[in-house]
């Protein structure tokens, strides 16, 4: 019998020097990943980390699993191929906002639509870091960057909306400086069968510092973030006295104890609801109107592409008379020349 591997975070750190800038959010996310992996009970050699191009895409060099550093935008396609070729692997795609949603937008939506069983960590810093500070598809409207010196004139994508719009089965959001939450969310992502999209809000200290300052400031963050848990009422705030209710078609913040609002009036989070309506409302919430939603927002069972690939082949093979190339080549219309 094979020896049980007991792994720790240390077992996932490669000997390569980490070259992200000091203070980069990537380092914290890396740390969360190495904390999460030993919890999954998967053999070390069965992990494959696949990335595209960008700061975050250097990730596979720092983690000592099997790793593949691809080309810009194509990590989703490469990772899809890895998983379909060998479904027993635990495949992780590392990508950024430009890699996944600009140059790789097509692969991103089709990966999600197919629901291939892999885990995608989208490092969203709302800027192009490796090319030194141009706007990305998630930069704010009007944001001044090197290629938008007078402000951008395009509206940003919301990765959660795009995931749900692509019929995504799993979407979670976390933030770089909350290592505990990130690890928990990644464990849930890994357990989910299908494409698990985890948006990690990530601070770029050099080109877009404090992009998330409004929701990360220690003094106020609990009032500006809401960490969602399946089956639990959507309560947040420093004193856990705020909650979300549905008013008409919109979410609204209420205060517990005011206007006769009790805990039973607060929406209960249901990640498993196939109807994406509330999930869409949750991923769209933004400060200052509403708190920013973190945690697992959607986790719905749907047909998994790589499982269907295998099943279809097994079904056909169980019925087919053609079992090898010799059978095929000699099937149908043939003739003998004497």
């Amino acid at each position: 019998m094979a020896e049980e591997q007991v792994l720790t975070a240390k077992d996932f750190k490669s000997d390569q020097e980490i070259r992200w800038c000091p203070g980069c959010g990537d380092t914290a996310i890396f740390s969360s990943v190495t904390k999460a992996l030993p919890e999954l009970g998967i053999k070390h050699e069965d992990y494959a980390f696949i990335s595209g191009i960008g700061c975050s895409s250097r990730f596979p060099y720092y983690i000592n699993t099997y790793g593949f550093h691809g080309i810009h935008g194509r990590a989703a396609a490469i990772a899809s191929g890895v998983k379909v070729a060998n479904p027993s692997l635990s495949v992780w795609e590392i990508t950024g906002d430009g890699d996944a949603m600009a140059i790789g937008g097509n692969h991103f939506i089709h990966l999600i639509r197919r629901n291939i069983d892999l885990n995608l960590i989208l490092f969203n810093n709302q800027i192009y870091g490796l090319t030194k500070g141009q706007f990305s598809p998630t930069s704010n409207f009007g944001q001044v960057t090197k290629t938008s010196p007078y402000g951008t004139i395009e509206r940003p994508f919301n990765p959660g909306e795009l995931t749900i719009g692509s019929q995504g089965s799993f979407f979670a959001r976390t933030i770089d400086n909350n290592v505990k939450l990130t690890s928990e969310v990644l464990i849930e992502a890994a357990k989910h069968k299908g494409t698990s999209v985890v948006e990690a809000l990530q601070n770029c200290v050099i080109f877009n510092d404090d992009a998330y300052a409004a929701i990360t400031d220690k003094a106020t963050k609990e009032d500006r973030q809401i960490i969602l848990n399946h089956g639990k009422p959507m309560v947040f705030g420093k004193n856990s006295d705020k909650g979300l209710v549905l008013e008409g078609k919109k979410l609204k913040v209420v205060t517990l104890g005011q206007d006769g609002i009790g805990i039973n009036d607060i929406l209960v989070h249901d990640t498993k609801d196939p109807d994406p309506t509330i999930h869409l409302c949750l991923v769209r919430m933004n400060y200052p109107e509403l708190p920013v939603a973190l945690g697992v927002i959607r986790a719905v069972e749907m047909p998994v592409y790589n499982e269907l690939v295998v099943k279809q082949i097994e079904d056909i093979q169980s019925k087919s008379k053609i079992r090898c190339m010799d059978d095929l080549m000699n099937s149908g219309s043939t003739w003998i020349v004497e």
Binding site: S80, G81, K83, N86, W335
Partner: protein, 611 residues
């Protein structure tokens, strides 16, 4: 059925079936080809169809054709000019008349020869009047009305009845060539198993056409004796199917799972379709969102230890360029099949051309050599797809296999090989003792690295598109290392053992014809014809484009005049000039979306021989 007509014996016959793109001419041609092969003729076929699925009915742009050359000799091409043309309407006559031999037979559906169709075809008057006084044997048959009459009692709707007129025509042509009907009847039985009414209608139409022809007084009748063909079991095979089968055969031999990531594109789609259908043989196929995802999923699958392929045509190869560089840099096995079509840009999707040669050789950023092979006949697409896989796996490199619309859609008789007779394919997998795994540690002789795939314990490593340090594979910007790695990647490919060039024809001749890929059939026929006239020439046909055969210069040095014939503006000739600057290369080029004709090649060779 007894025949009283005088039967003329022929060595070789070319028939062209033509009609509207919805008239079923491809099926008619295919059924005739199958019967020809089954009675022992050698065959070569070529379909010629419009890019539009249903171009305006009755117009020249909507004409779909299928040409077949069958004979009692070895047949190398579908033939230049037709002995018999079947034209279902005026437009197909107009589109194809230039391809009919003088003295040829033209069978027309006279029901469709009316003013409305003349106008659609761009005729100002009935063209038959003029043709009859010329050098053609025109046979006017009211095909549509006779088909209706034959099927009137079956209770079929008018559309289904009209649809059978191609089968009525097939009956006529079968009589013309003394072909039996039973193979086609058997096809109907199997194809329409679930719809006996359609089986019956087709059989009646087939016999009606055959019997009608028998009763025509002025109908010629021919017989083509069986060809002297090497003993064995045969089947008819087109190039795309042969390619798909070659890939599957290689995976089976190498004991690897076959993965295909691809995107539909004319004229390569049939390979993707066949691989998708081969779930019985365990082929994993992803029809991707685009060409780039096609190759990138394949690269992922290759990293994971599958035999990975992607299939495309010229525009798709352009889109895949960056990813080919990635596969080359990571030194992973990958086969890229490019079924060339008329370019540039969207070009002529359904027509043939050889103009992607330089794209295949050089169309990437950086110093990025990959192996380039070219198949030269419909059936040897099998062999070269197989060899492409063998080289890719054993040398850990991307291989581009070039075929083209002509051989991809063309078919010929193929002697079925046995898997046991095909060469072994051995993947250089890493073993546990290779830990800690250095991805760019090489076999000192072949310079090939080992293949460690996720799931192998203790061999975890990282590869990617950034330049890597020799042996260790860590990211490296060291100037000297980049030079070393660029050199190594090229030397690795130059060490691949490629079979020597074979000279066909008369090796003592002054003239050497040079071709590559799909022109082989035409060039070989030129060779045969000139030999028969006592004008011997030699031919060197290239299947290995990069690396080139080691004896190439030696071969070239023996000839006074070297004529490089290709369906582009001289790409292979330029490539040869670069490699062999001491040799003078003459060129013969054509870019009309069509194969060469034997006639034009022969004329050119005769010109060159007078130089």
């Amino acid at each position: 059925m007894t025949k009283v007509t005088h039967v003329v014996e022929l060595d070789e016959v070319v028939i062209r079936f033509s009609g509207d793109s919805g008239d079923g001419m491809q099926l008619t041609g295919t059924l005739f080809s199958d019967t020809s092969a089954l009675v022992g003729n050698d065959i070569s076929t070529f379909p010629d169809y419009p890019a539009e699925i249903r171009a305006p009915q009755g117009t020249v742009g909507g004409v779909s054709g299928f040409q077949l050359n069958f004979g009692s000799n070895k047949i190398h091409t579908p033939g230049d000019y037709a002995d018999v043309l079947l034209a279902m309407n005026p437009a197909s006559l107009k589109a194809n008349l230039r391809w009919v031999k003088s003295g040829g037979t033209i069978i027309v559906d006279i029901d469709s020869f009316n003013d409305k169709n003349f106008e659609k075809a761009g005729y100002t008057e009935n063209p038959l009047a003029k043709l009859k006084s010329g050098d053609y044997n025109i046979i006017e048959v009211p095909i549509t009305s006779l088909t209706k009459e034959a099927l009137k009692d079956l209770g079929l709707d008018n559309k289904s009845i009209i649809r059978s007129k191609n089968i009525f025509s097939l009956g006529i042509v079968y009589w013309l060539f003394n072909h039996p009907l039973n193979f086609t009847e058997k096809y109907f039985d199997e194809k329409f198993k679930k719809n006996p009414a359609i089986v019956e209608a087709n059989k009646i139409a087939l016999h009606a056409g055959y019997n009608y022809a028998e009763n025509l007084q002025y109908m010629p009748s021919f017989r083509v004796s069986p060809a002297k063909i090497e003993k064995g079991k045969y089947r008819n095979l087109n190039g795309n199917l042969a390619t798909a089968w070659g890939l599957i055969a290689a995976a089976e031999k190498a004991k690897l799972q076959l993965f295909c990531g691809s995107y539909p594109i004319t004229p390569a789609t049939e390979i993707l379709q066949e691989l998708s259908a081969r779930k019985d043989l365990g082929v994993r196929v992803m029809q991707c969102e685009d060409e780039i995802a096609g190759i990138c999923t394949a690269i992922g699958a290759s990293f994971a230890g599958n035999l990975a392929v992607t299939t495309t045509s010229g525009p798709g190869l352009a889109l895949k360029a960056e990813a080919i560089g990635l596969a080359m840099m990571t030194e992973l096995p990958l086969v890229i099949v490019n079924v060339q079509r008329g370019g540039p840009s969207t070009g002529l999707p359904t027509k043939t051309e050889q103009a992607d040669l330089l794209q295949a050789l050089y169309g990437r950023n950086g110093e990025c050599p990959v192996v380039v092979l070219a198949a030269s006949t419909p059936s040897n697409c099998f062999e070269f797809a197989y060899i492409a896989c063998k080289i890719a796996v054993e040398h850990m490199t991307p291989v581009i296999l070039l075929t083209d619309g002509f051989i991809a859609n063309g078919s010929e008789a193929w002697k079925i090989p046995q898997m046991a007779d095909l060469p072994e394919i051995s993947a250089p997998f890493a073993k546990p003792e290779d830990a800690p795994f250095l991805p760019y540690l090489r076999n000192p002789e072949t310079l090939v690295r080992k293949w460690a795939v996720p799931g192998m314990k203790g061999l975890e490593h990282r590869v990617g598109g950034l330049e890597k340090m020799d042996k260790t594979g860590t990211v490296s910007y060291v100037p000297e290392n980049h030079q070393v790695m660029v050199n190594l990647r090229m030397e690795k490919l130059l060490k691949i053992k490629v079979p020597d060039l074979i000279i066909e024809g008369n090796t003592e001749s002054d003239i050497l014809l040079v071709g590559w890929g799909s022109t082989h059939g035409h060039l070989r026929t030129v060779l045969r014809n000139l030999e028969a006239e006592g004008k011997p020439v030699a031919l060197a046909q290239f299947n290995y484009i990069f690396p080139l055969p080691a004896n190439t210069l030696e071969v070239f040095s023996k000839y006074k005049r070297i004529l490089v014939c290709e369906l582009n503006m001289g790409q292979f000739a330029s490539y040869l000039r670069m490699n062999y600057p001491s040799i003078n290369f003459l060129q013969f080029n054509k870019v009309m979306g069509l194969p060469f004709t034997v006639a034009e090649l022969t004329k050119k060779v005769e010109e060159v021989s007078k130089l």
